[in-house]
Amino acid sequence: MNALAQPRKWEKVFWPVLASLVFLVIWHYAVRWTASNIFPSPLDVEKGVGELLGKGVLWGYIGDSLRRVATGFGISLILGVPIGLILGWYPAAAKVVNPTIQMVRPISPIAWIPLSILWFGVGDNAATFLIFMGSFFPIVVASMNGVRNVPSMFRRAGRNFGLKPAQQLARIVFPAALPQILVGLRISLGIAWLVVVAAEMTAVNSGLGYLVLDSRNSGKRYDLVVAAMLMIGVIGLILDFGIRRLETIKSVRWGFRSEG
């Protein structure tokens, strides 16, 4: 098979389906072959999902996780984009603040758990704080870089047409930086989704992350563990798709090379 030949349309469905089936089959037989009665087979997981849906608990947990992400990510967005824009607009300010950002950024949001529990107790606010800590910096950095990368030609045109600095920021710099800001938002949302799961394993008592841990702790229900993991993957994927749709809006699409 020529590796460089153009794949045909049907192949776009055929290969993924084949690979997924192969994967499921291998999984199934691996479980059988090791005669494990703890680790679930694909069928067990499917039943597990059904059980969770039936119990009605799943929807509540999904709602909790999404709500926390929405709050934490939302606050990061509202604070982070303006701050990033300002830092990009005033490079001198960026130089002053940047070393501090570089030092705080590598501290895992998880490392903030003890402090967050101390400040907020166990519960939603602690989780929201952790999500904020995880998603804030990528947004700031993306917004800052977006502003910095606006071609000088656009800014010159702005001055030429008589725009004052505030108008320049709003009518030229922000739209020109928007594609990069959106990429930052997408990455940040992905991080937020990872952090919420982690936060729910330590700081709260509901949500998908909690479900993962709890299913094991109360009864070694690994079928539910994997079912929950699957839900986490699927919802995370949906969130990613959703924000990618924003990238197709015509007034930002120019900033993205055509990709899959």
């Binding site: 794949p7 993924p16 490392a111 994997v226 993991m229």
Partner: protein, 252 residues
């Protein structure tokens, strides 16, 4: 008031530290540490021999997990990126696994490996695997086809095509991807240690709080985490500065 430019970031941090100090000392109950208490905490850890021990433990796990992932993910990713059909086949699987936090794998990793180093290394391996895989796939796919065509034009067959065209062309992107993934694994090791092992900086943070509310040690741990993470990142960035690779980077 003209403060020299080099000094300004330092001054900014100093102001933040001052605010931190004031915020703590104004409260009557000193649960949280002042900056100075944190420094003393670091010194205490050093004296007890724990600092070095924990830093080494964390770095040990990161190194092993990251390298294992790299050894598997990079060749696999390059191959997958080259053969378009494999990428089509595996893409849905990768896309579903990607949003699952490595921490969600904790129950499974404990099931398979028990509590201890191996479990932590496994988590870091998982955390690094997919990002490195995706970076490698992406790197191959973004090789301008002119390079490949030129290679074939000059009569290079598959193997030499790979070593003379593909491999040098992907290195700049791979290094960036590795730097970012290293940063991710540093975040994950901390999380993994808080839950699954008995040493390391992540463990320090949890333990310091549980065994006596030593928040000064908690924050000391956090500071060490930040500094080492920064050092790792800076180290990787210097790789990007090697001249023979610099063509792959536009001004950052």
């Amino acid at each position: 008031m003209n403060i020299p430019v080099r000094l300004r970031p330092v001054l900014f941090m100093a102001v933040l530290l001052l605010l931190w100090h004031v915020a703590i000392t104004r409260q009557s109950a000193h649960l949280l540490p002042t900056p100075w208490a944190v420094v003393l905490g670091i010194v205490e850890l050093a004296r007890r021999g724990l600092l070095l021990k924990y830093v080494v433990a964390s770095l040990f796990r990161v190194t092993w997990g990251f390298l294992l992932a790299a050894v598997i993910a990079i060749p696999a990713g390059l191959a997958i990126g080259w053969y378009r059909r494999t990428e089509m086949a595996l893409n849905p699987l990768i896309q579903i696994l990607r949003p699952i936090s490595p921490l969600a794998w904790i129950p499974i990793s404990i099931l398979w490996f028990g509590v201890g180093d191996v479990a932590a290394i496994f988590l870091i391996f998982l955390a690094s695997l997919l990002p490195l895989l995706l970076t490698s796939i992406n790197a191959v796919e973004s090789i301008p086809s002119v390079y490949v065509n030129a290679g074939r034009n000059f009569g290079l067959k598959s193997v030499r095509l790979v070593s003379n065209v593909l491999y040098p062309a992907v290195i700049p992107q791979l290094i960036i991807g590795m730097r970012i993934t290293l940063g991710v694994s540093w975040l994950v090791v901390v999380a993994a240690e808080m839950i699954a092992v008995n040493s390391g900086l992540g463990f320090l943070i949890v333990d310091a709080r549980n065994a006596g509310n030593r928040y000064d040690l908690v924050v000391a741990g956090m500071v060490m985490i930040g500094l080492i993470g920064l050092a790792l990142d800076t180290g990787m960035r210097s790789l990007e500065g090697i001249r023979s690779l610099r063509w792959g980077y536009s001004e950052d």
